[in-house]
């Protein structure tokens, strides 16, 4: 399957737009000319093996890295030219997210609200992610799931138009993962454009309206999870599962190969 550029019928809905993005580190090509769009109220999943270029792409959009060539816009603003303004209107959950150990949750949310020049009510934001009862706990005393929820709370302080979630459920137990899914699903219903990277195909199937599979810096597929599974089925592929049901995982392996990425 070739890269399929989006042709949105209602293009004023576009929040994130990326065109022919390229980025290399010395000799290593991390992102090799990718294009995609993410719309209001949409969860866009980016799947790919380690080192495929997911995090680089996300971090360019977040204003954390420069791009070599191509264009990237959020709400029509060029992320390289207006990186401060763009940072101010997006919500960010980094892959290795961490906050100050000795600040409690209310203080953390308040501090970040100030950094985003927002006067949102910390308690309210914490309540959104079900952490109101831990407002006075210090960050270092939180569980893994609670830390991830706090990072969502902090990402919400500026009422963002787009939310970037880089592996939000890695390392969480099934309960905490389901809890996080509910939370992310809730954000979509508020109209945010959400860009999510994950290694969990089940997560992408449950949450994502559309997924892009990225391999060696290229998008090798970009469609709804069901369409990708149907396409695979039409080619007569077999599932790894005993019941023979094809999943997104089969699509992923089919597209990115079986060899291990070290």
């Amino acid at each position: 399957m070739s890269t399929q550029p989006d042709t949105p019928s209602h293009s004023n809905d576009i929040v994130i737009q990326v065109r022919d993005l390229r980025k290399s580190y010395d000799d290593l090509v991390a992102v090799d000319g990718i294009s995609f769009t993410v719309h209001h109220g949409e969860i866009f999943g980016m799947l790919g093996p380690n080192g495929a270029g997911k995090t680089t792409t996300v971090e360019i959009l977040e204003g954390l890295r420069d791009l070599d060539s191509g264009e990237a816009y959020i709400n029509g603003l060029d992320v390289t030219k207006y990186s401060k303004r763009v940072k101010g209107m997006i919500g960010v959950q980094l892959q290795q997210n961490a906050f100050f150990d000795n600040l409690n949750l209310r203080e953390t949310v308040q501090l970040f609200a100030t950094l985003y020049d927002s006067d949102v009510d910390a308690e309210e934001v914490l309540a959104k992610v079900d952490l109101a009862n831990r407002a006075k706990s210090q960050y270092k005393h939180l569980s893994g799931g609670q830390k991830q929820r706090l990072s969502i709370a902090v990402a919400l302080v500026n009422d963002p138009v787009a939310m970037f979630l880089d592996e939000p459920t890695t390392g969480l137990d099934p309960q905490a993962r389901r809890n996080m899914w509910d939370l992310i699903d809730g954000l979509r219903s508020e109209g945010m454009a959400i860009m999510l990277t994950t290694h969990y195909m089940e997560e992408a199937e449950v949450l994502c309206d559309r997924v892009a599979v990225i391999d060696h810096g290229n998008i090798v597929a970009n469609d709804t999870p069901q369409a990708l599974i149907d396409e695979l089925k039409s080619r007569g592929a077999e599932s790894v599962r005993k019941d023979g049901v094809l999943t997104l995982e089969d699509v992923f392996i089919d597209l990115t190969g079986r060899s291990l990425v070290e």
């Binding site: 977040e62 204003g63 954390l64 401060k84 303004r85 940072k87 101010g88 960010v92 980094l94 290795q96 997210n97 961490a98 906050f99 100050f100 150990d101 000795n102 600040l103 203080e107 308040q110 501090l111 970040f112 100030t114 950094l115 985003y116 020049d117 210090q138 902090v154």
Partner: protein
Amino acid sequence: MRIYQAFIIAELKMFLRDRAALFWTLAFPTVMMVVFGLFNFGGFEPPEIGIVDNANNNASKVLVSVLKGEFDGEPLFNVPESEDEDTLRAEILEGDITGVMVIPEGFGEPGSNSVIDLTYDGRGAQEAEAARTILAQVLDGVFKTVADVPPEYRVENWATVSLTEVAGRGQGYKGFVVPGIVSLSIMQSALFGLVFTLVRLRNQGVLKRLHATPINPRHYLAGLLFTRMLLLIMQTYVLLLVGIFVSGVEVSPGYAMFWLEVIPLIILGGFGFAALGLAVSGIAKTENTAAPLANIITLPMMFLSGVFIPHSVIPDWVVAIARWLPLTFLADAMRAMVNSGESLVVQGASLLGLLVWAGIAFALAVKAFRWE
């Protein structure tokens, strides 16, 4: 402005909640101060005694030579250059030397019963007592055999030592080591504090998360540095109080303005070392490389900047280099202010030295700073 404020408040809260860091910031230098006070490394040095030779005869010349160690190379007294009685007495009052001995006219001549006057600073009673003992031994033993005194004129007590105590400003080794350790603590706290805070936050990813907000590095670093300076001022006050009440040192005698004037000195010195810490944290990738790097910078200064080892016992060529180190500038100014009650405004050379170092360190820090 709100952002600076928010960071300062957050940093203060974090530091005060970090009990372990708070404890070590104060406990380590306090212990060091007390321990070095007990060791009295200064006691290994010959006492600083000026000599006024009013006799200027064979006998007195031999005595002076023995004391200066001109026979076997081991000086018994550390003798200043001046031989003028008034100048030397003034130096006692200033605390620069421990005492002055005056050899009377006709010393050692047949039939004389000379009295050598040893005037000493009451604060240096230990050193003066050491000096008196040395002098008595020299007179008693070595001198009798060396000097040209005919045996028939040798009588017991042909020369005696009389002691006169005056109130000078000398504080002995304690007075030397307390401002030294106060300065050392400013360096350690500023440099290590920033290195470990920043390396940890960077490895945890906290700095990267801050980088994802619309702030500039200066917003965060200004808050961090400002808080650090407040803590350094607090730490210095506490250590000086320990010096007063535990070590018994008089801080800045007769000059109460010291307690205000020391603040700009702490900030200037502390800023330079904090900036150096910032640079180290940028260069070092992990805590494992940061610690040795910080130690390579601080350890030589600890021993060469005249903190607890006086420059007088270090080879001259080493001192020629060591006098340009930032900690030397800080310790010199601190010592002049603490010991002699000098004002900050006359520490021009040290302040200029610190300013240049702060500039160099800041430029390095700006170059080396990394969010991730």
